[in-house]
């Protein structure tokens, strides 16, 4: 038995990792895994860097930022598997929600309408001499920060000038928005629905609508550990893959919700978590809404580490001035995600594996069968709410073109 310590942060999207442990998928692959719950992404990164964790549930842009040396104590990391698609939402205070509704938001989670309404609210506040709205995100190098900014910018709102963005731990968001310390936030579940159920806030849009079929968390491993332990890494990916399939089945959702609910996991009522697994969100105190592809663990190659995803995150890290663009940096970002290792590990399972490692994000307007190692792989729809596409072969041009917007 190979001993492994794996870190996670208590969020809905840690489901695959928690299920793999609870349902014995790690043990079946000969892995003796000890899960450790962490309180911050910084702590996870530090423990990966010093080797006290061999793997961790991390924000999808973190391995890229680590390999580009963008934060302190940056270990070299690889992401050989994604931990699902979607899972985030944008939530605003009850007061801001009402103001947005008065400006045309139809409470249907449509990012375009919500963004346009928010832009008008911001203009009215400026005219009235009110201070800028303040939004919380969980980490600088997070899908939350980068997707919130994408949504705002595409709605004509400058995220650096028109609002203020602050970093807060996800479990603090509901209290912060209720106390008026922030006006809104982008965070993973269940921290949106918890605030919405209380009536303190309302969900105005979701990641699955801003950038559909996009990864939220990935499994990161120190690059040196992964190259010295290829068989262990393969076994780890197989157990996570099987856990992802188990997690996706509707008949397992009640059990998965109770696994997630445990005090040493999320410590949140299972009844709050279970509907989220099939995409039903409490968008306000009284209303629920079911969002297609809100959080996918298995369908649509949900665990495949697309290098086009890595490159999109990179393009946004550059866009917001956190890193300079160069061909070398783009290559570092791309190679942070490792579909080659994913394929190597999953070959024995005769599961359909995508033939390509990159795709044009936003090209698929409907569910589409794609070329794979076995039949039956369907991808899409994917892409961005504003209809833009991202061609991973044209990163430089994409970055240039976004310079002319906000």
């Amino acid at each position: 038995m190979q001993d492994l310590s794996i870190g996670f942060v208590p969020l809905l999207d840690s489901a695959i990792v928690l299920a793999a442990e609870a349902k014995g998928f790690f043990i079946e692959e000969g892995l003796n895994v000890r899960l450790t719950r962490e309180t911050s992404w910084s702590a996870i990164r530090d423990r990966l860097a010093v080797g006290s964790l061999q793997a961790a549930h991390v924000l999808a842009p973190m391995p890229i930022a680590a390999n580009l040396g963008l934060f302190p104590l940056a270990p070299k990391l690889i992401a050989p598997i994604a931990l699902g698609l979607g899972g985030n939402a944008v939530t605003v205070s009850a007061a801001l929600g009402a103001a947005m509704e008065a400006e045309g938001d139809e409470r249907d989670l449509d990012p375009a309408k919500a963004g346009a309404a928010l832009k008008r609210v911001i203009a009215a506040r400026r005219a009235a001499g009110l201070p800028p709205l303040r939004f919380g995100v969980v980490y600088v190098f997070s899908g939350h920060n980068l997707e919130l900014r994408y949504w705002l910018a595409a709605s004509g709102i400058d995220p650096d000038r028109d609002i203020e963005i602050v970093v807060l731990p996800p479990p603090f968001m509901p209290d912060a928005v209720e106390a008026g310390r922030i006006d809104g936030y982008c965070a993973g579940e269940p921290w949106n629905t918890i605030a919405a159920r209380r009536g303190a806030a309302r969900i105005v849009t979701v990641k699955a609508k801003i950038w559909r079929s996009s990864p939220e968390k990935v499994l990161a491993l120190p690059a040196d550990f992964a190259s010295a332990n290829e068989d262990t890494v393969s076994a780890l990916l197989r157990s996570l893959y099987r856990a992802s399939e188990w997690s996706s089945r509707l008949e397992n959702h009640a059990e998965l919700a109770s696994i997630l609910a445990e005090p040493h996991h999320l410590n949140v009522d299972a009844a709050v978590l279970q509907p989220l697994l099939s995409g039903t969100l409490a968008v306000s105190a009284k209303n629920e809404r079911t969002v297609e592809d809100f959080f996918l663990t298995s369908a649509k190659a949900a665990t495949f580490p697309w290098q086009s995803h890595a490159l999109w995150f990179y393009s946004q890290i550059v866009r917001w001035g956190l890193c300079d663009h160069s061909a070398e940096n783009a290559e570092i970002a791309k190679m942070s995600y490792r579909p080659d290792i994913y394929r190597r590990a999953l070959q024995p399972l005769s599961t359909p594996l995508p033939g390509a490692s990159l795709k044009v994000e936003g090209a698929l307007k409907a569910p589409t069968p794609v070329g794979a190692s076995a039949g039956g792989l369907i991808l899409g729809p994917d892409g961005f709410f504003d209809g833009q596409t991202f061609d991973p072969d044209q990163v430089g041009a994409y970055i240039e073109q976004q310079k002319t917007t906000i």
Binding site: T39, S40, W41, S42, A43, D46, R47, A49, V50, G51, S52, L70, F71, P72, L73, V138, Y139, V140, I165, V166, V167, L168, P169, P171, F172, L322
Partner: protein, 196 residues
């Protein structure tokens, strides 16, 4: 600039541990030490103090917020990196294991910072030893209370004296290969259930 000129900010939600660290820094000749327990408003504190070194416990859930200041804030100008010399793997490892994280102004010489880190590491370790001992003492006290209660129940219900009651508990524990406190605990539970 001598040792005492370094501005050091200690952020710790645990007031006792923060006091222990401050004490260590003062003894090492650092007089420019600021301790904050709350991270609310820390951006302004950092702006005002311009600390050369920031020490924060690794478990603090607000570390991501602190790090975001270094990346995003326009007011915090100085580039800050964790530890002066990234090649000093041993110190970094010891720090993470002890639960210390530290941010140091880029360019500050390692020999000036290492003693601060070493001190913080040893004080963090001393603090967690102390906390463990306290926990152990507490549970010992709890255990004694449980055994005392079980003895009292036996004395009352079986008319035994204290010595006999204790001997019975001990014998049962030995026969069943269990701890005395566990035997006492199940005895109390049994009595409580029967009473109901």
């Amino acid at each position: 600039m001598n040792t005492s000129d370094l501005a050091i900010l200690v952020i710790d939600e645990n007031a006792i541990r923060a006091a222990i660290i401050r004490d260590g820094l003062l003894k090492a000749g650092h007089h420019n030490v600021t301790v904050v327990e709350e991270l609310v408003g820390v951006a302004r504190t950092i702006e005002r103090l311009s600390p050369d070194v920031i020490v924060i416990d690794i478990e603090n859930p607000n570390r991501d917020m602190l790090e975001s200041l270094f990346v995003l804030s326009r007011s915090v100008k100085k580039p800050i990196a964790m530890f002066v010399d990234r090649s000093d793997a041993e110190t970094i490892h010891a720090a993470v294991e002890a639960g210390v994280s530290a941010y140091v102004i880029d360019g500050l010489k390692q020999e000036r910072v290492k003693p601060i880190l070493d001190m913080a590491i040893s004080r963090f370790n001393a603090f967690s030893r102390m906390a463990q001992e306290l926990e152990a003492a507490k549970s010992q006290l709890e255990n004694r209370k449980v055994v005392d209660r079980a003895k009292a129940l036996l004395m009352k219900s079986r008319g035994m004296d204290e010595e006999k009651a204790y001997a019975l508990l001990r014998r049962t524990a030995m026969d069943q290969n269990r701890k005395i406190v566990d035997v006492a605990q199940s005895l109390i539970m049994t009595f409580e259930m029967l009473e109901r």
